[in-house]
Symmetry: C2
Subunit: 133 residues, 2 copies
């Protein structure tokens, strides 16, 4: 499905964070059985979700070689990005929780590896004393 119409044409990236977690598990294990066990779900459910992800991306992520499971180039790219995305989501969750408690937020230099910068300097320290109503 596409984002639709008007000034708002979002590409509607259809990967769920849950699906991304599933994908990372399979990509790391390279074995649907072990990945399913690690995720505490049944194998068929995992297989379906991975296929659904591939369909949504319109891109093959694994090469199922009958006996072996290997990542495609797209799969390798997604593995890197998925890890970053999940980490970013978790970090966001922490920041939101912290903001709710009106605690000062300290952001330390951080950057996803997939952006592979040649050089990067980045830091910040934001102290906020509860200024909310």
């Amino acid at each position: 499905m596409m984002g639709v119409i008007g000034p708002e044409v979002v590409s509607d990236v259809d990967f769920d964070l849950r699906r991304l977690r599933y994908f990372v598990a399979v990509a790391e294990e390279l074995h649907f059985g072990r990945a399913a066990a690690r995720l505490h779900i049944a194998q068929p459910a995992l297989s379906r979700q991975i296929r659904a992800l591939e369909d949504a991306l319109r891109t093959a992520l694994f090469v199922r070689d009958r006996r072996t499971t290997v990542l495609t180039a797209a799969g390798e790219q997604l593995l890197a990005d998925a890890r970053d995305l999940l980490a970013a989501a978790e970090a966001a969750h922490r920041r939101v929780t912290a903001a709710a408690e009106a605690k000062p937020v300290l952001t330390v230099g951080f950057m996803p590896a997939s952006w592979s910068p040649r050089r990067c300097e980045c830091w910040s320290a934001t102290g906020r004393t509860s200024a909310s109503g």
Copy 2:
């Protein structure tokens, strides 16, 4: 729900990208009706999803003042993070698609505003000619 058990205790960040999009719409419009129209869904559905998001985060995101809708401090934080997360997801989608087509990927300096760096230098240029099997 928590990630569960063993060496893998993921905090199970429960925000869906779809819910995040819904949230951004409301946060930008500060009006459930307009936001729902913009998202092409009904108002109640949107209201429920926002509440579900707040429940999942265990954090209030809006102050519903009957007549007005305002962001909480946590809401403001999430707005910034959500935009970055959605942008990152979209970028990841593009990179994955590009990788699938074995095109060289050019990453230009980019950094979410929410990390509010005092100073940041960051660039990279990765050329990859189809080396996949």
